[in-house]
């Protein structure tokens, strides 16, 4: 009590120890906040370290490319003052000889050749061959001796390419993944049509994803409707048909489709048995038995099968919340069932449709396993090309640039999804 009397009587509410209530509350809230942050910190740090940083480094690789700058340091400096019109002056060739001798000693000529080859096809072997012969050049004049080793060094274009690759940072990979290239003068133009392949890969990835999303919607919507409106007991049984595939691994389901779609396999037998093969032959779409394995058809069917629950379940959970009274009201006002369904029921399911379709579309963009197993070479999507760029071509710049494109598309859609649905409200199972 003595303490309470010592407090000034200024109308401020105070806690038992005399601190103003506001301050005490703020202090308690700050402590709570710190505690909450301390709980999140371990996972946050872990995700940043094991996931975010690796991806950022990879993305950085799509523009960071020091192979030429590191291995031809003198040439790069000497080329700085070159105007790019005629052959470079003698001192560039002198620097080039010195750099190549060094590179040959360090066994780096193949690396230089590989990097230059991306922009000038065919130069790789010439660089390597030049590296082997460069030791024979001992004194000036360098220019003619170098050109004598290979004519390619007598072309200004070669030196323009080296000059362009000289920076540690290059827009080359990202540009070429969009079928663009940089001219020697720095302007950007489209590559010739016969070398433009990446846009078609992008278009294919988007096309397959869109088709699969539409198919899952068309197939999934009626199922979700029946699940949501059936009596509980029926619905739980039907739900097993949706959840069992959902829980079965993607690889197993892809394997199943591969087994079913092999030539002369179960699927072909089924088509034969139901007369579909006969019918397709009749109308001239097909000649003989269908070839299913390693086709676009197999890819789309398998992906639709795998993604169907992802589209269906969000639609189902939204439909679950729609009260049947709306439909009754619509009908009692004279709407036919069909009209009531279109005008009253369907608009209410749109949030679920958007959530399900976006999720499926996002996941489809990143498909790798399924097209790799049941698709043919012309059915591979971006992910497949990323895998190949690394495992077959050892081209990190290309893989990273494709990664940038795929990730950008995914993150934009993820942002939309987050705004629309809220990621923490994502339904699982």
């Amino acid at each position: 009590m003595a303490m309470a009397q010592a407090l000034p009587n200024d109308g401020v509410m105070r806690a038992a120890d005399g601190t103003p209530l506001k301050v005490a509350l703020a202090r308690a809230e700050r402590a709570e906040k710190l505690k909450a942050m301390a709980l999140v910190l371990p996972l946050f740090a872990f995700i940043i370290f094991s996931f975010v940083v690796p991806i950022l480094i990879m993305l950085y690789n799509s523009v960071y490319d020091p192979d030429v700058a590191e291995n031809m340091p003198q040439t790069v400096v000497a080329l700085k003052s070159w105007d790019g019109k005629d052959l470079p002056p003698e001192e560039v060739f002198a620097a080039f000889v010195a750099d190549m001798k060094e590179a040959q000693r360090n066994k780096q000529t193949a690396l230089i050749g590989k990097r230059l080859n991306y922009e000038m096809s065919g130069i790789r072997s010439k660089v390597v061959a030049t590296g082997r012969k460069i030791g024979s050049i001992e004194a000036a004049p360098y220019r003619d001796q170098v050109i004598a080793i290979d004519k390619v060094w007598g072309e200004p274009e070669t030196w323009a390419t080296i000059k362009r690759s000289a920076s540690d940072y290059t827009p080359f990979y990202i540009l070429s993944m969009l079928d663009l290239r940089q001219n020697p003068d720095g302007s950007i133009e489209a590559v010739p049509a016969d070398r433009a392949i990446y846009k078609s890969i992008l278009a294919r990835t988007l096309g397959i994803s869109l088709l699969v999303t539409l198919l899952t919607l068309v197939l999934g919507y009626p199922v979700a409707y029946l699940l949501a409106t059936s009596p509980q007991r029926t619905a739980s049984i039907l739900m097993i048909f949706v959840l069992l595939p959902f829980w079965t691994s993607l690889l197993v389901r892809t394997t199943a489709w591969m087994v079913l779609m092999t030539d002369g396999g179960v699927f072909a037998g089924l088509l034969h048995l139901t007369g579909i093969t006969w019918f397709l032959n009749l109308i001239g779409v097909l000649n003989g038995e269908p070839q299913l394995f390693k086709t676009r058809f197999a890819t789309v069917v398998a992906m639709t099968h795998i993604q169907l629950p992802f589209t269906l379940l969000p639609i189902y959970s939204v439909m679950k919340t729609i009260s049947p009274t709306y439909m009754r009201a619509a009908k009692s006002l004279g709407g036919t069932p069909f009209y009531s369904f279109i005008r009253v029921y369907m608009p209410q399911t749109l949030p679920g449709v958007a959530a399900g379709c976006l999720l499926t579309f996002i996941l489809c963009l990143g498909y790798y396993i399924t097209p790799a197993i049941v698709g043919g070479p012309t059915d591979q999507m971006i992910s497949g090309f990323i895998e190949r760029a690394i495992n077959s071509e050892n081209n990190w710049g290309k893989a990273s640039a494709l990664g940038v494109i795929l990730l950008t598309a995914t993150l934009i859609l993820y942002y939309v999804y987050n705004k629309l649905v809220g990621i923490d409200r994502m339904k699982l199972g």
Binding site: V52, L56, V223, F241, L243, S383, I390
Partner: protein
């Protein structure tokens, strides 16, 4: 379910058409999975019906060939370690995130969930390069760390969902009865959020157990997981042992599904929500 008496003929046709359509879609969903299972008992090594004879030799190969049984062991080891790590980290984070007024909650949540959204090939390639610089490529630790990153979002989501219906006054009640914070957690909070934790753990387990792409980059050729063994098997030479492996995996996922469903019911009973 009968057709309502007031339906017109056109409506009746629609009614049955929808049901037939749905039946076909459900068949499409389940048939491929069921059709593969009998083929794993085929005595010949091709994939079509009718089967000439019955044999368990592919299962014999699956369980006793060290290539496959080693892969199964490796998969379980990695998946269990991943589950423990992911459940621990994910539950802690969910507890923190569910507190009121968490700063920048949406952003942090988006970052924590991102491994689920980022295409797995990008994660795999990024981790491959980064983990190579730490000498983690080809090690089990590397795979476990990578899988944990991919699996934690599932734990965060399920536990956060459970916590959203958790009555926080119970914690205060516990504290006012004199329990220390950790006692409140273990005696009050955990029993109530346990179903969420377990389903999160199951998701984490399945994520790791089924994952192929990251393993494709991070595993050493001698130390394959089961999905990687299947994937390489498919690419190199198709052996019917793959159908046996697929059948076993389907059985495992069925067991998971049943467990999850039981948990969901238990959780609803605990919260006093009658299963609707």
């Amino acid at each position: 379910m009968a057709v309502p008496a007031y339906y017109t003929r056109g409506e009746t046709i629609m009614y049955y058409a929808v049901r037939v359509f749905v039946a076909l879609v459900l068949l499409f969903l389940i048939a491929p999975i069921l059709a593969v299972m009998p083929l794993s008992f085929n005595s010949e090594s091709f994939f079509t019906y009718p089967m000439p004879g019955f044999s368990l030799k592919w299962y014999n190969d699956f369980f006793f060939n060290p290539r496959w049984s080693g892969a199964v062991k490796m998969s379980f080891l990695v998946a269990i370690a991943t589950t423990i790590l992911a459940t621990f980290l994910g539950t802690l984070a969910a507890l923190g995130l569910s507190r009121a007024n968490f700063p920048a909650k949406a952003t942090i949540m988006a970052i924590l969930i991102s491994p689920m959204i980022v295409p797995v090939i990008i994660s795999a390639v990024g981790m491959f390069k980064f983990y190579a610089s730490l000498d983690l490529v080809g090690t089990r630790l590397g795979i476990i760390l990578a899988h944990t990153a991919l699996a934690t979002p599932f734990v965060v989501i399920t536990v956060t969902a459970t916590l959203s219906s958790f009555d926080k006054t119970l914690m205060r009640a516990g504290a006012s009865c004199g329990a220390a914070p950790h006692t409140v957690f273990f005696r009050v909070v955990m029993p109530l959020i346990l179903p969420g934790m377990i389903s999160g753990a199951l998701f984490a387990f399945v994520t790791s157990f089924d994952e192929v792409v990251v393993v494709l980059f991070l595993a050493s050729p001698e130390d394959r997981t089961l999905p990687l063994q299947m994937f390489s098997g498919i690419r190199e030479m198709i052996s019917p042992t793959i159908t046996a492996a697929a059948t076993v995996l389907v059985l495992i996922s069925t067991a998971m599904l049943v467990t999850l469903e039981l948990l969901r019911r238990r959780s609803e009973r605990l919260r006093g929500v009658a299963p609707n």
